[in-house]
Structures are given as C-alpha cells and as structure tokens.
Symmetry: C3
Subunit: 346 residues, 3 copies
C-alpha cells in the first residue's frame, strides 16, 4: 500500500546529499515515534537530545549535526526539506476513477476532461465542471454552478446554485457553499424573510475545512480571494469578502457584509461582527471578539478585542482583580481614617 524510496532517491529529489547506508525508507515520522525504516528530521534544537535515542532509520538534519547520526540527509533547512518529503510520501485521496454510472448528472451539465465523479454524486442543470476535477460521493452541485480546473470536492460537499469555484480548490468533507444567508427581520406583521439572491465566489487555490459553511449573498456575492485557507466548522455570513492568503482557523464566525483584507490570521473561535472592515495583515487571537474596524497590521486579542500587549497585561492581571477590590477597600478605610484624624485636628 504505502510508497517507499531509497535514501539516495529522496536526497536526489531534494537536491541534497546523504551519508551512511542507502536504506529503503518506508515512511516519515517524528524522532520520538519513528521506527527502523522511517525517515525523521531535526529542525528545532529543542529536540536534539532525541537524536541519541531515536529509532529512525535516517534523519534529515543541518550540516552542524551531521556527525551525530550515521544515516542522514544533510540540509540547510531540515524542516522545509522534510515538508517536501511529506509531499513525496502523500497519497492522493480516493480509489475511484472515471464517471460513475451511479452518479446523477443533468444532461445540460458540462464536465471537463479527466474528471472523476464517484457514485451518488448529483450535478444540476447548466453546471460546468472544469478539467481534472474530482467529486467524491454525496457531493451535490446545484444548477448554474461553475468549477474551475483541478478542484477536489470530498464526500458530502454541497454547492447550492450559482456557486463559483476557481482552479485548484480543495474542499474537505461536508462543506456547504451557497446556503441562504440569515436574512430575517421582525416586522409588525411577523417575521419576514429577505430572499437571498446573490452567490458565492471562491477564487483559485482556496482550501476549505470540513463542515464549514459559507452563505450566499443577499445581493451580489460572498467572496473568498485566492490562496486563502479556511479550517473546519467555520461560518462565513452573507456578503462577507475575505482577501488573499488569509488563514481562518476552526470555528471562526464572520458576520454579514464584513470585509477581511489580505494575509489576515483569525485564530480559533474568533467572532467578527457584521459590516466591519478588517484591513490587511491583521492578526486576531483565539476566541477574540471583534466589534470595531481594525487598521492594517493590527494584532488584537480578547473580547471585545484590544491591542495585543494590553490584552496580555490584562490577562495576567485578571486573576488579581478580586485582590484589587480588597486593596481599594483597604485604601478607602485608610483614607477615611486619615481624613477623620485631620478633621479632629482642626
């Protein structure tokens, strides 16, 4: 099942040299967990002691440490070299090829070359699927959806009508794109629903995590720009615009019509209110709650979010607040006594 390579082949792939025995490498692992035929790496000096005890068959490490092990690949950047090896050993997910006869494909849909369509996929009317796409089982593609080239939709992903994906998008299982935005208002004659007639536009090279939901716009579009990475269980509301190369970690929620700039990092469980503007290169710490616009390069944390250094000082002092109340009460008594003494002296 698994791939294997000789140490020489891996060194050659990396464009680096190796030393010791040209063993056959059957997998990759950490120094602590690697066994006989596995390749490991030493990047962080913190783990240098593990070099003496590791059972790894070979290690990728810096020239400075070359003498410490017998079988090794020598690299100026062991972490980066190892990450490249992970790509070498990674297996493409899935086991099916071709277009299943058990998929339900509308006659008006068009499907590019070299696509894989698993059983029990549904593709709606006028949908367009680019070349080299893979649709796993349980995927639903609504009418008028358009997918670029080389997209992978893992099992049970749902694209409601008119959703667009660029090239090279990868959706983990259970992603829902284009569900209706939360458009309800209370009126004198009861709850009214505002129909959501916009779409979702996902640009090239976007990755979206399992069971994440991105709603269609009320008007116009909800959009995610290229190279942005979204983790699991994230909620993105209607008409949100997310910029390029953002990292949106799991369980983040972004409310309607908010704009997030390029290269922003939103840590886990962050919430951002609606109609805000988050500029480029902003970092928001875990569980942060953002209720105001944030300027370029802001680093914030807390709920409501504040500047990071202030947050850190606040965090350290927070457990001391009960004591602060006592200190203030003590001061009040001391002052009262001093004032009393003063008054009695008059």
């Amino acid at each position: 099942m698994a791939k294997q390579f000789t140490l020489a082949e891996i060194a050659d792939f990396l464009g680096e040299r190796y030393q010791g025995e040209n063993i056959t490498v059957t997998g990759l692992n950490t120094l602590e967990e690697a066994q006989g035929s596995e390749l490991s790496f030493l990047a962080n000096p913190k783990y240098i002691k593990q070099i003496a005890t590791t059972k790894a068959g070979a290690v990728i490490l810096h020239p400075d440490h070359a003498k410490d092990v017998k079988n090794a690949i020598i690299s100026e950047n062991p972490y980066f070299s190892f990450a490249r090896c992970m790509g070498l050993f990674a297996e493409k997910e899935g086991f099916f090829e071709g277009i299943s006869e058990f998929a339900s494909i509308h006659p008006s849909a068009t499907i590019g070359e070299n696509c894989t369509v698993y059983p029990f996929v549904v593709i709606g009317s006028n949908a367009k699927i680019g070349d080299n796409c893979t649709l796993f089982s349980g995927v639903y593609i609504g009418e008028y959806c358009e997918l670029g080239e080389n997209c992978t939709l893992t099992p049970n992903c749902v694209l409601m009508s008119h959703t667009h994906l660029g090239d090279n998008c990868y959706l983990q299982p259970g992603v829902v794109l284009g569900g209706e935005g939360f458009g309800f208002v209370r009126t004198d004659f009861g709850v009214q629903k505002i129909p959501q007639i916009g779409t979702v536009m996902i640009a090239d090279n976007v990755e979206i995590g399992a069971n994440t939901t991105i709603d269609r716009a009320a008007l116009s579009k909800t959009s995610i720009a290229k190279n942005t990475c979204i983790d699991n269980l994230v909620q993105i509301g209607h008409n949100v615009q997310v910029g390029e190369e953002c990292f949106i970690v799991s369980q983040v929620g972004i409310a309607g019509s908010t704009k997030v700039g390029n290269k922003c990092t939103l840590a886990g469980q962050v919430g951002i209110s609606g109609h805000l503007h988050i500029a480029d290169n902003v970092t928001i710490g875990p569980q942060g709650g953002v209720i105001k616009d944030l300027a370029e390069n802001s680093v914030v944390s807390g709920s409501p979010a504040m500047e990071y250094n202030t947050y850190m000082r606040h965090s350290l002092l927070q457990p001391k607040i009960p004591e602060l109340f006592k200190r203030v009460s003590a001061l009040e008594k001391q002052i009262a006594k001093l004032e009393q003494e003063r008054d009695s002296q008059k």
Copy 2:
C-alpha cells in the same frame, strides 16, 4: 437563465408608480455594484452620494429623492419595496421534479401530493411526508418521521427516527435533527450511556441553517416553536424548548433542558448553560455566556453575561485595567507616606 421584468411591471407588482424610461430590469444590486440593466435602491440617507455615481439602470427611492435620478420607482418605504423585489427575482432552488427512481423509499412510508424526491434520498419505514415537500439528494428520513406540507430539506439533511416537522419548514444543507442527546454519566463501573428515547418537534415556518444540530430528547421532546429562525452551525441540546419568532444566530450553543421564550435574539457564538429559563423578548450579545435565568426583556452581553449597559462600560474600561493596577499601587505608596508622616508627628 435569470428572470427579467420591465420597470412598469415591477412598479405594478409593488403597487407604486415609476418615472423615466420603462427599461428591462435583469437583476437587483446595491448602488455601488449595480450595472446598466440592474435595479437598485436608496433607503439609508448615508448612501445618498452614491446616487450621483451609480450605474444602476433604475433606483427605488423615497419621493423626496425623486428628482435625483431619471429612472425610478417611487416608494414611501424603499427598503421594504426592494425586499419584495428580491422575492420577485428569487429563483426556486433546484432543478429536479417528481420522485426519482434512484431514491430509496420504504414501502410503508407515505408521500403527499406534488412532492419532489431527488436521487439518493432515503425514506424510512412508516415515515409520512406532507404535500408539496422537496427532499434534495442525500437526505435521510428515519422511521416514523412526520413532515408537514411544503417543507424543503436541502442536500444531506438528516432526520433521525420520530422527528416531526410542521408546515413550511426550510432546512439548509447538512442539518441534523434527532441525533442522540449527550447523555453520559461517570459511575464507579465506568461511563454509562443514558439512552435518549425522546424526539425532536419542529413547528411551522421554522428555518434551520446549514450543518446545525438539534438533539433528540432524553424523554419527551426537544422543541422549536413556530416562526423561529436558526442560523448555521448552531447546537441545540436535548430537551431544549425554544419559543416563537426567535432569531438564533450562527454557532450558538444551548445546553440541555434550557427553555428560551418567544421573540428572543441570540447573537453569534452565544452559549447558554443547561436547565435555565430565558424569558420572552430577551437579547443576548455576541459571544455572551449565560449561566443564570434571564427575566423578560433582558438585554445582556459578556461572559458571564451581565446587563448590557454595565457590559458596555466594562468593555470600555477593560483595556484600562492594567493602568488601574498602577494607580492603586501609586495610591498605596502615597497613603503609606501620609500615614508615616502622621505617625512621625505624634
């Protein structure tokens, strides 16, 4: 693909008058994004400057602004008129009609008139589906479930056994109703599971967002009353009772056996502990954490939740708490000095 109407037809539909050229309207958009044949609207005076630069073919606006544009529909309430137009332009989701021969329907299930059942739907034994229901692909309806009339279950929604839906319910993709409640206890002989033998009852006109989960009750039922709107990725625990016309925004979690009254608004990422009673017309701000009962008309925020005005003052002061510690330290020194001087005078 898209619908189109003349300006006169739209004015007629709205019961309003129009001015200018009777253009053909091909879509709706904001003033900022609208193009030649699109209709837009001006409701908020904040956007009045955009009237001069919009490329919209026509605008719905108040009589006071009628002179500012050529092609227009004149309405006393432009936002409401525009929302009605959104309904006019909205297209019904989906592309399939009839009962698919690739659905798996138990012989004992009954299906009403004019229903649509997509391929790869499963309907269990003794299930009852009302008239005019639409079940998209990947939907699972467990045994003894009952659906009222005119319900729409979009792709991959799951109703476990005995779940009831009223009329006109709309479930976004991936909703799970009737999963087992979290009924586990630690005992001297290990973790024990309390079987969850209750059900989920959803009343009329309830909308539920994508990937939201509502658990079956331990006993009796978990219930959502009529006209309540639930957003994406919400968790509702076993035996929770939610009242009428509530708005439950995305990523809210409500723990077991809590009762929520009518017309409550729970903002994004709110958490409510179990066995609480939230009265009618309560509003809870985003990321709020509720650990006590809340009286009618309460407006709260924060974690743990406090009265809204207190929360707002607290929020503004929170970043100044580190400074407050310094101020108290300074006071302590000043007082110590005053006391020392007093003592030396004695």
Copy 3:
C-alpha cells in the same frame, strides 16, 4: 410501533418489587409530562410536590416515598433504575437489514458478518469492516479504513482513508474523521501546504456527536482513547491525543498536537490552544480558553482560563469594575487633597 411491558415485567427486569396495579406501561416520561400509561420516577426531592399531581400510571421511587403513590416500583436508586428502563424502551435506530444492492462496495473491501449496509453507502478499496457493523446511507469509508466490531455510523458520516475505529463506536450523523489537518505556512514564495500523511485512530466504545470533525495527523496519528464521549460540532485538530473516559461537550475546539489526559471534562465552547498538555481529571468550564498546560485535577474557567474559585470571584466582581474605577478616582482626589493640606502646613 412502541414497546410495552407490564409493571411486573419491568420490576422483574430491574430486580425490584412493585406495588399497586400491574398496569401495562407504554412509555417513560417526567412526572410533569407523563400520561396515563406512562412510567415516571422521583429521584430529586425537589420534585416531590409533583407526586401529588402527576398523571403517570406508575412511578419509580425510594422506599421512603412508597406511601405517596398507588402504583410504583420501589428502588433504593430511582434515577439509576429509571435509566435502565430507558434502555429497555429504547428502540434500535434504523429500519434496514442486510447489504443493500445500491451500496457501492469496492471488491477489495472486506465486510464482517451480520453487517447492515444501507443504500448509497460507499466503501473504498482495502477497507475492513468488522462484524455487526451498521453503515447508514450516505456514509463514505475511504480506502484502507478499518472498523472494529459493532460500530454504527449514522447517515452521512465520512471516514477518509486509513482511519481506524475500535469496537462499539457510535457516530452520530455528519461526523467527519480524517479530513486533512490545517497545515499551511506563509513563506516568501506564498502559502505552502504541508501534506498531512498521518491518520486518525479511535479506540473502543467511543461516541462522537453530529457534524463533529477530527482531522488526520500531519505525521503519525490523531487519537481518541477508549470510552471517551464527544458531543456535536466539536473540532479536534491534527495530532491531538485525547485520553480515556473524557467528556467533550459541544462546540469545543482543540488545536493541533495538544494532549488531553484521562477523565477530563471540557464544557461547551471551550477552546484549547495547540501543543499543550492537559493532565488527567481536569475540568474546564464553558467557554473557557486554555493557553497553558494544566496539572492533574485542575478545575479552571474563563478566558484565559484561571483557577475556578478565582474565576467565580472575578465573575461576581466583573460588573462592579466600572464602579471600582470611580472609587479609585475618588481616592485619588481625596489623597491629592490630603497631600495638598499637608504641604500647606509645612
């Protein structure tokens, strides 16, 4: 449809005695909601007044209260006895038996004895399914997955390749195991993806809630130890290790490489940062945010999490912080006045 037993049969099953009429019991319910033929219970003295008004046909209660009702089962531990009755009345979910001809099963997959495979299930190459497993519709089992005996995967659960489940695991609908971990880094030449080549290993007797996601490891494995119970919409990141008998309540997020010990309880919406070590028997309160290691038997709450008693005192004082600022301002004025008076006396 529903099961029924006589009061004598139930008493016999429990190994307890009954009094009154040997009625036929058609279901179980709370004292408040039970009707004529239903059995209820009195465990918490708080509900003793309901004994007088309940319409339950019979009640399980402590010998001390035996005189208060006519039809009863007498038990030293009424709650435990009632929980056992819930197991007696619980019906096995589902209505289908055998291997559906509408499932798509790879020829190289092996399926144990007495398994149930619903329509529209997909089982990948080299997958191994143990005896007595049930796979509901829409389930996807990737290549090289292995399931122990007696596992139940309810509708639309997804196991990506190489995921392992032990015996007696129960997955609520929409669970995703083995999606790719969030492995992205920003580099000088753009966002790079670190391939995730590890797996997910779930031990025996683990229950996982609806739409919960557990990511595959970057290297090695993400693991959940035996007897652990996970609620709905939980996120567990790559390389996380969760111990035995943990309770992980809904919407919790655990970031990558964190280790959680045995018998820990993580309340709803808790977030734990990556690379931390949470020792055995730790309890984390709702919405808690953990950013540091936690020692054995810790009980913490708040964000960032602090010791529970400190948190409780802090919570009570939090709404009084605005007033504290006023008190400190008043003190500063008083002190200034005292100092001024002192200076004028010199």
